[in-house]
């Protein structure tokens, strides 16, 4: 399908590390997209978060703000976790993995949240996004996956319970390894986790101070409506406010030092994610009961097959049909 490309409809978009010129599609394509259903696969949420993975949270929020007609599927079912990773966005036969790929694909199919930003605002978005990824992301990864107490008492048991065997093992192992690699890449000269935590908290404090002063009393970073920067900030600030973290007191720090960031998170919760957060536990339960029959049958088939094979083998060995 062809694109109408005129000087008027060239738009500037910017999210995270990417900064592209996007050509809006013509009316026929837009109509086609409206009726098309997409699928977004995410890690389930809890504790008032729509997902326990910040990239999944960002993907859900993007689709909500941009009003993308998509089904949200949870990684807590065998069918989803066998074929997809999280977050992943399915558009027909195309699958986009990771928030960066998802957001840039959504921008390319008309759902662009940064439309209307001036070049200076695009530049600022890029700089602040870099700061969040460099200073806030490492602390969240550390607290969730490297810090022993939080990981062993909260994050790991939760994932083991919610995700399916054996995917819960793969998922948690992968996340722990990538978080450890990230921390090692930044602080390869330091081994003491307590000292590393102090460095990370200091960097995050700088970042949160900057974000809070930039947001000021406005509703969103660029005043009128949320953009990709608001999504990134929400994705990395909301877990600190909502997760019942054990060993780090960053929740109270944010509430007392940067109350406008807490209000910002509550505002987005109420406006875009209210129904998902309220029904979040219900969503998990519903999705489990929906697939309960399939899951039982898969597990039952595997257990029965293994039992049958082992019985036959034991019988064969006992009777001397097979000599070991």
């Amino acid at each position: 399908m062809s694109c109408e490309i005129t000087l008027e409809n060239i738009e500037c978009s910017n999210s995270g590390n990417s900064f592209n010129i996007v050509f809006p599609l013509n009316k026929a394509q837009i109509m086609y997209n409206k009726f098309m259903k997409y699928q977004l696969n995410v890690v389930p949420g809890d504790y008032g978060l729509v997902s326990l993975d910040p990239e999944c949270t960002q993907s859900i929020l993007y689709t909500r703000i941009a009003k993308v007609p998509c089904d949200i599927k949870l990684l807590s079912s065998y069918r989803v976790c066998t074929f997809y990773s999280a977050p992943s966005f399915v558009n027909g036969k195309e699958v986009f993995n990771g928030y960066d790929a998802i957001s840039s694909h959504l921008r390319s199919i008309q759902y662009n949240l940064d439309f209307g930003l001036s070049s200076k605002q695009c530049s600022e978005t890029m700089a602040l996004s870099s700061m969040i990824l460099q200073k806030l992301r490492p602390l969240l990864e550390f607290i969730m996956w490297v810090d022993k107490r939080n990981n062993e008492e909260l994050i790991n048991p939760w994932h083991m319970k919610v995700l399916r065997i054996p995917f819960n093992y793969y998922y948690t192992k992968g996340k722990r390894e990538s978080a450890t690699d990230l921390i090692e890449a930044i602080y390869d000269f330091e081994d003491n986790p307590e000292i590393i935590k102090d460095y990370l908290i200091k960097a995050a404090t700088d970042c949160l101070t900057s974000l809070s002063s930039r947001l000021g009393k406005d509703d969103y970073f660029f005043k009128k409506s949320p953009t990709s920067l608001d999504i990134l900030v929400y994705g990395y600030v909301s877990p600190f406010l909502k997760l019942p973290l054990n060993s780090v007191d960053i929740t109270n720090m944010i509430k007392s030092l940067w109350p406008n960031l807490e209000t910002f998170v509550k505002r987005i919760d109420a406006k875009y994610l209210g129904d998902l957060i309220d029904n979040e536990r219900f969503l998990i339960r519903e999705s489990r009961t929906q697939q309960n029959d399939d899951e039982v049958s898969y597990s039952a088939i595997i257990i029965l097959s293994l039992s049958a094979v082992s019985l036959v083998l034991t019988f064969a060995v006992n009777k001397g049909f097979i000599k070991l």
């Binding site: 910017n14 590390n17 990417s18 900064f19 592209n20 990771g98 960066d100 070049s119 200076k120 695009c122 530049s123 600022e124 890029m126 700089a127 602040l128 870099s130 700061m131 990824l133 460099q134 200073k135 990538s178 690699d181 990230l182 090692e184 890449a185 602080y187 390869d188 000269f189 330091e190 102090d198 460095y199 200091k202 700088d206 101070t209 900057s210 002063s213 930039r214």
Partner: protein, 279 residues
């Protein structure tokens, strides 16, 4: 007479350790000495694009603050640095590495370039410094270590030049693995070469939009100017993928003019910039 502890053993101050106020305050009491040394790899034979950019940034910052220093090339500068990253300075009994750490160290001696900036501008400046580290520095690492052409023709030869055979190959292999791991955690490992150049162009566009038609990013010179200059000047004079970088930079004339201004301040060769500037 036995030497005091501070005299016999240098205090190591990395950017991450900078929060240790006690150490910094110790350094703050002394005036800036005349024999400050800036350690970096050999410029002609050894130094690579990202290290050269960071070294230039630190030199530009020290010159902007009118602080004396002497560049000392060392083959094992990376191993001498407290954080494993170059450049680093030795100021009296203190060893401080990387631009952010050096800026904090200098600030604690009462010398600062950002005293006229309000809190919002300081936040803005920090964000743009993150942008340079996050995009330009990662792109430089990618080009040097992941692009096979650049790695075989330049990086492996220069990085291994100070080691005898077969240690040069072992050192190159070890360093390449470490850089790949670093790029993986920052989601740069799976990028294609074209995407990397696109990221550089986007970063230059963002910097150019922020600079606008001003002389410096925040009116007066700041550490951000030193950092941006270090990276852009290095990209203009690099021996890896020079044509690609030059083609990108040509599109941003205000940035080139800005580099030219700082070049003159530092008495650096401006020939490479003049070729790119449209008359």
């Amino acid at each position: 007479m036995p030497k005091s502890d501070s005299q016999s053993k240098p205090h190591v101050v990395s950017p991450k350790l900078i929060s240790e106020r006690f150490t910094i305050e110790l350094g703050a009491q002394e005036p800036w000495p005349n024999d400050v040394k800036l350690y970096q790899p050999y410029e002609v034979e050894q130094i690579l694009l990202p290290d050269n950019a960071n070294s230039l940034a630190v030199q530009a910052f020290l010159q902007m603050c009118h602080l004396q220093y002497q560049v000392v090339p060392r083959a094992n500068a990376e191993a001498m640095s407290p954080t494993g990253k170059v450049p680093f300075i030795k100021c009296g009994a203190f060893v401080v590495s990387e631009l952010e750490g050096i800026v904090q160290f200098v600030n604690n001696r009462g010398i600062t370039l950002t005293d006229k900036l309000n809190n919002e501008e300081k936040s803005d400046m920090r964000a743009y410094m993150c942008l340079v580290h996050n995009v330009l520095e990662k792109a430089e690492l990618y080009i040097c270590w992941m692009d096979n052409e650049a790695y075989n023709d330049v990086t492996s030869k220069r990085h291994g030049s100070v080691y005898p055979w077969p240690l040069n190959h072992i050192q190159n292999w070890t360093k390449r693995r470490a850089v790949m791991k670093n790029l993986k955690v920052w989601n740069w490992y799976d990028k294609k070469l074209d995407e990397v150049f696109q990221e550089v162009e986007n970063a230059c566009q963002a910097l150019s939009d922020r600079l606008d038609d001003k002389e410096y990013f925040f009116g007066n010179r700041t550490e951000l100017d030193a950092l941006v200059f270090g990276h852009l000047y290095s990209l203009c004079t690099t021996c890896v993928r020079l044509k690609n970088f030059q083609n990108i930079l040509k599109k941003f004339q205000p940035l080139l003019k800005y580099c030219d201004r700082i070049c003159k301040l530092m008495d650096k060769d401006t020939e490479c910039l003049e070729d790119l500037l449209t008359k």
